[in-house]
């Protein structure tokens, strides 16, 4: 925070004020409440860690950890007892790696195009497309992979019914928005004087962007890829629906495969006998958690550096603060960029020897630019085409199924009578409860962190914990919910348990969004209010919060819409049939994404139509929420007079 330290002289504000004692008490209480809502993240993280360790304890007391990590056969039946995680790991790597192979070139070039070549007008068209892609729930990508992508590979390339390749494509589209938006941020953050210098030296815009901007933004680009990777590693629903359920040590993308997250989901949905096979799910969850944790930690460090700028702190202090992980990251990055430089040097040497060195004509360089820009612009087109195909497929499959019966009936076992009314209501209640928990907790935590907390070790710890919560694979939240809320707290498979799980998922997003909009309120507002004698809470309540409200609302709506589309975290507790909507928070519930999952896995074709129609309803709800968020944001920006 710039300017005056606000915490220095709190007494001055109330001196001579007859109500000072009352005010102070109220303020202290509020600050304590804010502090508690920030600290609840610690409880949630501890619950996740307790779940994973407690759940896998039985497993590791019977199975050697070396055997687990190096075994090549995964047949977790009580009799066969082969607990080698490598087949699951290979499936996970195959899907995540394959998805990265597709989404890195597409995502990075789309970001380059957006940042360096797109007009403001084009940006304003493309950015919403990317936001929509990012907002589509993973169950929808799973449905698309199984019903649309998979048949293409089955018919033309002899892929098996379930195959890795369809999941790879779907996951690639899923993580593209992450790569695009963070890489775009990183390239936008490159100082303009670098571009100007390069252009002044006579480089074309293409040369400037590929040789100056991209290398300068390389940390951010790598971080965006790592975040995409972490997301891909933890992705569950696409893999469960499209990639199959057999753990095979294979890298053949046309084959069926199972990932770590898919095994955990199988524990939730399949007829797995009790005992080791179930606790193996927790052990796999622990491993998945650790892997994504490491990747996320490295990546988020870099992202924070980009956002805050690295030049503020003295170099010595910075050196000290770098964790081992970050140093490893830097080493790897250095190695990679050195490798690229070496390769480029070798190529240019060869070129120098074979071809006579002669200046490349300007026409040629401009042609290069034209081709390059067309190519990277094309990658935006690819994203748009994917979106059109996905929406087109879902609409053409599902629109016919939407009628009054479908909207008013319950999910009957006879497809022609089936509807989703209590399912919609289940999702609405889930949304309401999640909102009721997330909004006060998330906003409170953000206010505490941004307005009241001093830069102590504890505050930094809190920030890191909240950040890490955002990176936990969604299926791990499912394990945690069933262990902590359902069993330990005895909430049962209820609406309350479901909304608490979704609350933990939505919380970090709300905190980040709220903090950002709090930061956007100029410090001069705070200083002015303090100057006329407001207490710190009065400053927040009357000056900061009102100005930050639109941003906070946008963040809350977006995070709730994200949470409501999640399937994996509630897969363990959601119901697939009830005639009526829940009437109390301890009732069991149905939810739209879970119903899509159930109907998609039914053998009858008519149920797939029901699934598509349900997807349409879900997408309409999500798009409406997003539209509201965007309207709030735009109206606030238009009104803003600072």
């Amino acid at each position: 925070m710039l300017g005056i330290k606000l915490g220095k002289k709190p007494k001055l504000a109330n001196e001579g004020n007859p109500f000072s004692l009352k005010f102070n008490f109220k303020e202290k209480l509020i600050v304590v409440l804010l502090f508690l809502s920030a600290s609840i993240a610690i409880f949630f993280s501890a619950a996740i860690i307790y779940t994973l360790f407690d759940g896998s304890f039985d497993f590791f007391s019977e199975v050697n950890i070396i055997e687990f990590l190096t075994g090549t056969i995964w047949v977790p039946t009580e009799i066969f007892r082969a607990f080698g995680v490598l087949p699951l790991l290979s499936g996970t790597v195959l899907i995540a790696g394959g998805a990265l192979l597709i989404s890195i070139p597409l995502g990075v070039s789309a970001a380059l195009f957006l940042s360096e070549f797109a007009s403001m007008r084009l940006r304003s068209i493309v950015k919403p497309i990317i936001e929509i892609l990012a907002g589509i729930p993973s169950i929808v990508y799973g449905f698309f992979a199984l019903m649309f992508i998979s048949p293409i590979f089955r018919d033309n390339f002899g892929a098996s019914y379930f195959n890795a390749i369809s999941a790879i494509f779907a996951v690639a589209i899923m993580i593209m928005p992450i790569i695009i938006s963070i890489s775009d941020d990183a390239m936008k953050a490159v100082p303009n004087h670098l571009r100007e210098t390069s252009l002044a030296l006579g480089a074309t815009r293409w040369e400037t962007s590929t040789r100056i901007v991209m290398p300068a933004a390389s940390s951010g680009i790598v971080a965006s890829i790592l975040l995409g990777l972490a997301r891909a590693l933890g992705e569950t629903m696409v893999v469960v629906l499209a990639a199959g359920s057999i753990a095979k040590l294979t890298l053949n993308p046309l084959d069926e495969t199972m990932t770590m997250s898919a095994y955990i989901a199988k524990v939730a949905t399949g007829d797995i006998p009790p005992g080791l096979a179930v606790s193996a799910g927790f052990a796999v969850g622990l491993l998945l958690f650790l892997i994504t944790y490491v990747i996320n930690t490295i990546a988020s460090r870099v992202v924070i550096q980009i956002k805050t700028g690295t030049t503020v702190k003295s170099k010595k202090k910075q050196e000290k603060k770098r964790s081992i992980l970050f140093i490893i990251f830097l080493k790897i990055k250095e190695k990679i960029s050195k490798l690229f430089i070496d390769i480029r040097e070798i190529i240019s040497k060869i070129r120098f020897k074979i071809l006579k060195p002669r200046p490349v004509s300007l026409t040629k360089r401009y042609w290069k630019q034209r081709i390059g820009v067309t190519l990277i612009g094309g990658s935006i087109l690819v994203a748009a085409v994917f979106l059109i195909l996905l929406l087109g497929h879902v609409i053409s499959e599902g629109i016919g199924g939407i009628n009054s019966t479908f909207l008013t009936s319950y999910p009957s076992w006879m497809p022609e009578k089936a509807g989703i009314f209590p399912v919609i209501m289940g999702s609405v209640y889930l949304m309401g409860l999640t909102l009721a928990f997330t909004a006060p907790l998330g906003v409170g935590a953000a206010i505490y962190l941004n307005e009241f907390a001093k830069d102590t070790r504890y505050t930094r710890f809190l920030r890191r914990i909240i950040q890490n919560l955002a990176g936990v694979p969604s299926i791990v939240f499912g394990l945690m919910g069933v262990t902590i809320f359902v069993s330990l707290f005895q909430f049962g498979p209820s609406l309350l348990s479901g909304s608490l799980i979704l609350t933990i998922m939505a919380l970090p997003i709300v905190v980040v969004a709220t903090e950002e909009s709090l930061k956007s309120v100029p410090d001069s507002f705070r200083e002015a209010a303090r100057g006329v004698g407001s207490t710190r809470w009065q400053v927040v309540r009357h000056h900061v919060l009102p100005n930050a409200a639109p941003g906070i609302m946008t963040g809350i709506i977006l995070s709730i819409s994200r949470a409501i589309g999640e399937t994996a975290p509630i897969l363990f507790i959601v119901s697939f049939f009830a005639k009526t909507a829940p009437t109390g928070i301890f009732d069991s519930f149905m939810a739209l994404p879970a119903q899509i999952f159930y109907w998609t896995t039914q053998p009858k074709e008519e149920f797939h139509v029901l699934a598509a129609s349900t997807i349409l309803i879900l997408l309409i709800i999500l798009l409406a929420m997003n539209a509201v968020a965007i309207i709030i944001r735009q109206r606030a920006q238009a009104k803003r007079d600072w």
């Binding site: 069926e256 007829d271 797995i272 363990f572 049939f577 005639k579």
Partner: protein, 336 residues
């Protein structure tokens, strides 16, 4: 400007309050409309479609049904989180041990001799599940198979690679590779099939492993019966198995194999013959004790065992109890 911003904040509060009150109001309305008791049912994914159908047709309660597997169903019953636990297998001692009870209290027939944490799991047989071993309609050499031949095809114990390597088929079958399309390990059907054909399945001296565990790529597992059906329809040399329900829905796509659990007592896979057909198993619902006669669970079980309830069974693809053993119905109704 301050006023405008104040209004914004108020708007936020109002929106949240409005959303919450919508939730609360609709909740109240629902409550007034239906005064039915609520039941929670969870468990076997094999029983799930049947449980859903019954939950819909039964008028005495609002039942919410979820899946998650037989273990999950029994576990939730034992921990008091479900009123009805669905199971496609019998309760085992490990189910008791998992919740900290003495496994010795569980009898071999899946009943319990004493309560666990105050819950006495009580077994009700509610329908029969029947497996169909199926082949391509053009396959004329394997229209009947006994357990020995199935063992040679489906296990890793000296398995047959070509059809003419299966004992008894050496003369009649072509020299073509066998392809297996069948459920994966997650399905109860898989367990049930191998329990039938592998001696001592699940015990320490289990005689063989499944061909899936052998990983020789002949056994193509799938969780989707549709996939299995299509694969066998399209491949003359394929064989597989799944619930009889799927065969019944697609009677022309594949042909069922006659099965003999001895050497030559071949039995046709048909609903009329379920009492003699070796690959049929009971499906269960577990409850906490025998419900009192005025309790809604009692009404539910009575409905399930009634003529109306049993009429639903074949529609979902399973076999009604009366076709197997009339006494099962009268005997269980006598307890209620």
């Amino acid at each position: 400007m301050g006023e405008v911003n104040q209004r914004n904040l108020k708007k936020l509060v109002i929106i949240i309050a409005a959303l919450l009150s919508v939730v609360a109001i609709t909740g109240c309305v629902e409550e007034n409309g239906t005064a039915l008791p609520k039941l929670t049912q969870t468990g076997s994914s094999t029983v799930l479609p049947l449980a859903i159908a019954w939950a819909e047709e039964f008028d005495g309660a609002t039942i919410s049904v979820s899946g998650g597997g037989s273990s999950h169903g029994i576990n939730f019953l034992l921990t008091g989180q479900a009123d009805l636990g669905d199971a496609s297998r019998l309760m085992k001692s490990s189910d008791y041990e998992k919740v900290g009870c003495n496994g010795d209290l569980v009898n071999d027939d899946g009943t319990a001799s004493a309560a666990c944490n105050g819950v006495l799991p009580t077994k009700w047989v509610i329908a029969y599940d029947m497996l169909a071993v199926v082949i391509n309609p053009d396959n004329d050499w394997a229209t009947q198979l006994n357990y020995t031949q199935l063992y040679e095809i489906f296990t890793d114990d000296n398995p047959a690679v070509f059809w003419d390597e299966v004992s008894g088929l050496n003369e009649t079958a072509p020299h073509e590779e066998i392809e297996i399309y069948a459920p994966d390990e997650a399905s109860g059907t898989y367990d049930y099939f191998f329990e039938e054909i592998i001696p001592n399945w699940g015990k320490d001296d289990q005689q063989a492993n499944t061909r899936l565990e052998m990983e020789d790529s002949i056994y193509h597992p799938s969780a989707d019966d549709n996939v299995i059906l299509n694969a066998i329809r399209d491949n003359e040399y394929a064989i597989g198995f799944f619930g009889f329900a799927y065969y019944k829905e697609n009677p022309t796509a594949v042909s069922p194999v006659k099965i003999a659990d001895g050497d030559d007592n071949y039995q046709e896979a048909s609903l009329d013959n379920v009492a003699n057909y070796p690959m049929a198993r009971p499906l269960h619902i577990y409850t906490d004790g025998t419900p009192e006669s005025d309790h809604v669970i009692n009404d539910y079980l009575q409905y399930v065992l009634s003529e109306d309830g049993q009429d639903v069974v074949p529609l979902v693809g399973y076999v009604r109890l009366s076709l197997v053993d009339e006494d099962l119905i009268t005997g269980q109704l006598g307890l209620l």
